[in-house]
Symmetry: D3
Subunit: 269 residues, 6 copies
């Protein structure tokens, strides 16, 4: 029993996957992660190196362009010793698919991580989304995670992902406006920022609104780091039986699938 | 009101998408569809033209290889005047994603179509799957369709997709064996064959077991044909508001995504 | 296997049961069905020949006057070779009861059929009812069909069944008004007209509101026709085991129940 | 406030409706009720006076023969000053329909009443039915009452309603056998006898099995008596708004429906 | 079978536990109970004799001060021959805990009892609470009782427990105001007063609003009396198997817990 | 924004509350925590200093003896600068109550923490309990956390809490036996040890059974440490609005409740 209960928190590698081919936010998010990570944590910021790409995943059909790559990236994580990986979009796209082929890498994602924190701090929460369009799909996620009874409301900023980081002042004002409505009208007790590109605002919103405001980047990165550490300490790695069973290596080789690493842009931090 | 209530059932085009790159079953399924279609129905049998492919989609990671292609195929359907398309795998893979970008093409799939028939004929049904592995994911589908209270059981043949059409006699015997157990032990009142590659057996199983046995190919193709006809007659085409809104054409063009048709193998029938 | 996979779509008989004794709408609905049916479909329009009757079924106690007759009519359908029968009221009254005694006749109904179409075209739908009174009972139906999570809202016209066909212009205007509110305020993506006597309006409302508008008469008749055809082709008839088991003929004879056909008014079309 | 808080428990009238035309059990049940009623309670035992009838309601189609009569009897109860009425079948047939037209009469039924008692005495219960056939329909009732999570199991005696009172010794032995299995294997903490014609056995089964055993006749009659008393004391009578609104008297008169009392056999006790 | 079916309603003892140390309402509630009880019912009004106490249980942390005492009081009830006990707070605090150690005493509580009455009289109900604060916790109760689908709304008076009995006229006016909103806006069909200290208002509110208005004190006391009588007549006492099993007496003695009666203030009535 | 995003992981204080008065396991658990904690984490091991106590909380009535003390301990945590506290029993006793009065201290517990880890590593899990008795109550917790659809089964060791640490070899063998059954028969993909006193076995069971085996002590302590660090870094502290609002200090003072720290035994580590 001595090995799994290693007293010193393990040095771990956490990969943040920005699951698009657009890398404008890779540097600022990497910078954010560098500031919040623990000393022993190595962060890999990756995004897809692909010829044509959307800048956001507001549509299911945009996510579909990334599904294979997300799974490939999860497989690559397993093969390169990444301890935990975050699929950096609040829809938690391809989470179940990526988990199947990630080997010993734990895969997590912003929605599940954020709700997990929010429900430790409050009984009911609201999610601030960009557009009404997103709500139906995110409801499905909340329901899959079993937390629909804790959801006070979705509130929409009526802004697109590409708008969030354009005029910080305006974005911040809109988030504060909707967060306050969520608390006052919908009786939310915590606020979840329902898009990774809403990063950078939570502290000020929290100070203004007076309830916990969960940043999806921060919450999911820190959860990945936490899970990665526990993996190292307690050997808690992904199950590989029943629905968690991956295809046999021999079969993937025979089919010629998942045989090479995906094209990734990497940023050291 | 004269136009939508066209008395003559419209001539319609139904596309069957075999959502892998392996086309061994394309011809026999096309032959089956040709025998069961209505006179005015034009059937397109398509599969993916891709260099490397699994022969089946028993794993989530194999499905992930097809997600983008399935959506591209849905978009192509919309652009080429297909009235309805079936995504030919009982996991109903990428159903919601494909629907978003299908334009005026109605997208349906085997699981939703089979359960829709089964629940018109019986209060409770069982699904015969190939392996235990599949059950967790299919449970998610049954739950999404709201029919978990009608599910008597999953029963597993412990055979892979690639085995089903190998020795017909053996497959038939195993299906009959599990279908009988489902009826006798789990009190199923109808049987759903939970894989499109279980095609060709339902009539004999039905005769033997004495309850309705729903073939997933037949049920979904006929539902697609039915929905296609209603689309022509009543202008009942996919909604395009809120969660059903597709990305703007201009944006897709700017991003350089979904700009060309996918590589498809086509079989006329 | 040759017999069930009959290539030519079978000639089928579909019975539309107007489940009251008031026949003012029998002719216009029969006319509608005649215009939308397939060539090979024989339509029987029937209503109850009964001395005293309500004109509508807005109350549970009015439905109770019809329960026995609906089941008798289902039994008669089975005995006279009807392939599928629609119980023509959006409450789907006595659906489960009628199914038990219908022999080889498939029984369907407007609510289940309309929701089945709506959920193929949209993720979320609203139902336009006549009065608030109806909502609690219809909610029960939506819940039994497992689709409560897809329901955006009920919207009430505050009109009675008897009013719908009185001033078409006014009814149409009211439906359009509430349908627009459902789409704009409740984020509905499709509209279901929650009463069979709202027939005749869907095409114009659809053109005006811009989302699929499902007419409950059209949807259920076409589904019955579709199920009838599949019954002929694939021998998919009602299950008769467990909860679907009917009383023994011998017992019904001994009890003297269900021994003669019900009094029906019939309209050929 | 003086009137509703009448200190003396009111004299009340409770009607037990045996909802078939077969009256063999009317006398023994009436005798049972006479023994368990409070002094101030007047019991009316009624069954339907009808030319042909089943002896039991094991089938949905048999219940359909009674629906109108049950509602008529509820209306008659309201018009003749009955305080509460029990629809004496564990399927709780036509409960919602009867409630609509019962005026000031409270309508209750065996399943809801038995579960209400059982869940006050235990966290989980099993229901002992006659045949597997019944389970699907009764599950619907348990679910409507919101108690599916408390249901340990259904257990079937594989006996018909007509068999229960034939050989008491055999019936008792079978009930004890299944009740013990429910407790030991399914971890039931209370037993509910899921048919009114299982009357007369509970005390011995309870003594033998050692957990509360709820007789559906006793539980529902006593609940009706209790509700009747509260109605007298506190004016707690059925709601008549929204979904509880009955048809207007004027309309029923115009339609010629529900204008005369039903044909009832009455037994004084 | 003669003993359990005792024809004369048994003389019973019902204990009302005011589960705080503040006894200002003990006398008026005792007076109320004395007026509504049956002749053969002996009422014990008890509250906790404790040095420091809140006057109300609006907070979970206040209830926590009472949990042990409530269970002790339940045990004392079992040991002193109380037939049924009500835990007199609408949160139903410590209900499951108290049931475990109550011996032969049946434990019930205001929320479960009130909803049980309300759902016999109406399909949908609203609960009038004091503050928004209460709603989340009470929702949990409604959900545990399986009745969330019947809940039309919570409505808040924005008054504290301590305010209710201060200015009767004002409280009554506020209850009437919110009850009317519940009926008109939320389509409630019955009203439940969601705090025992809202006692004394139901009759007037009911007369004014025109739907059943359930007083939580009255409903739960009468249910306790009813259950107590059935216990005497039919030996329907709490189950003591599986989750209902209490600790062994020997063990409690060894641990030195639950060895002496709690400090109670008693009021004879 | 500089302050909440403190790059260095904060030094934090985590309190482990053994929520009984029996301290035999305090030292070994403290030793375990000392081995797994991060360098900057200060651990406080506390249990109740009380004259008479059970050694375990297998019964609801035993938990009731601790409710007030648990809340007092939470309040004390808030007042003494504890960052996060674990209520060290798998029933998560008094979790919601303790959270209300914990000030800035985050309260977590073994069940929620263990399920949170398990569902990151597997789709379905089983919980190994000591006795069948526990299952009903724990099911309630699993349901409250929304994870009932992920639960493969409960498996019972039929051992009491006091037995677990008696003969390690025997306990380990029994856990392995039931864990294997859970995986093989119930298709569990991860195992959760459903009692904190099952500590010390997970590593060996995991090695033997081949799926993740979650130790409830380890999982909840590490989650508390993780939440404590995030609190320090991001100011994510418990919400204090709506259902999370504590009683006013002034009122508690006036009532004389929660005015002094509880009697705690403390162990430094």
């Amino acid at each position: 029993m001595s090995k799994p209960l290693n007293p010193a928190p393990a040095e771990v590698t956490v990969r943040w996957l920005n699951p698009v081919g657009f890398d404008a936010y890779d540097a600022p998010i990497a910078e954010l992660l560098a500031r919040i990570k623990q000393a022993g944590t190595r962060v890999e910021m990756v995004s897809f190196d692909m010829p044509a790409t959307p800048t956001h995943l507001e549509y299911r059909s945009y996510e579909a362009l990334m599904t294979q790559r997300i799974v490939e990236c999860a497989r690559d994580s397993g093969q390169t010793g990444v301890d935990a990986m975050v699929i950096g979009c609040f829809y938690d796209p391809a989470l179940e698919e990526a988990r199947e082929l990630s080997g010993a890498t734990i895969i997590t994602a912003p929605c599940i991580a954020s709700l997990s924190v929010a429900t430790q701090l409050a009984n009911r929460f609201s999610i601030i989304v960009g557009r009404h369009k997103w709500i139906e799909q995110m409801s499905g996620r909340v329901q899959r995670y079993g937390l629909q009874d804790r959801l006070a409301s979705f509130r929409s900023l009526e802004m697109g992902v590409d708008d969030f980081q354009r005029e910080h002042k305006k974005t911040r004002a809109r988030i504060i406006e909707e967060a306050k409505r969520a608390v006052e009208q919908d009786k939310a007790e915590a606020i979840v920022l329902g898009c990774t590109i809403e990063f950078g605002f939570f502290a000020e919103v929290q100070a203004e609104v007076g309830v916990p405001v969960i940043d999806a980047v921060v919450a999911s990165f820190k959860q990945a780091e936490h899970l990665a550490q526990m993996k190292k300490q307690f050997d808690w790695r992904p199950s590989r039986v029943w629905s968690c069973e991956p295809p046999p290596e021999e079969e993937m080789q025979r089919f010629g699938v998942y045989q090479s690493p995906p094209a990734l842009r990497k940023l050291s931090c």
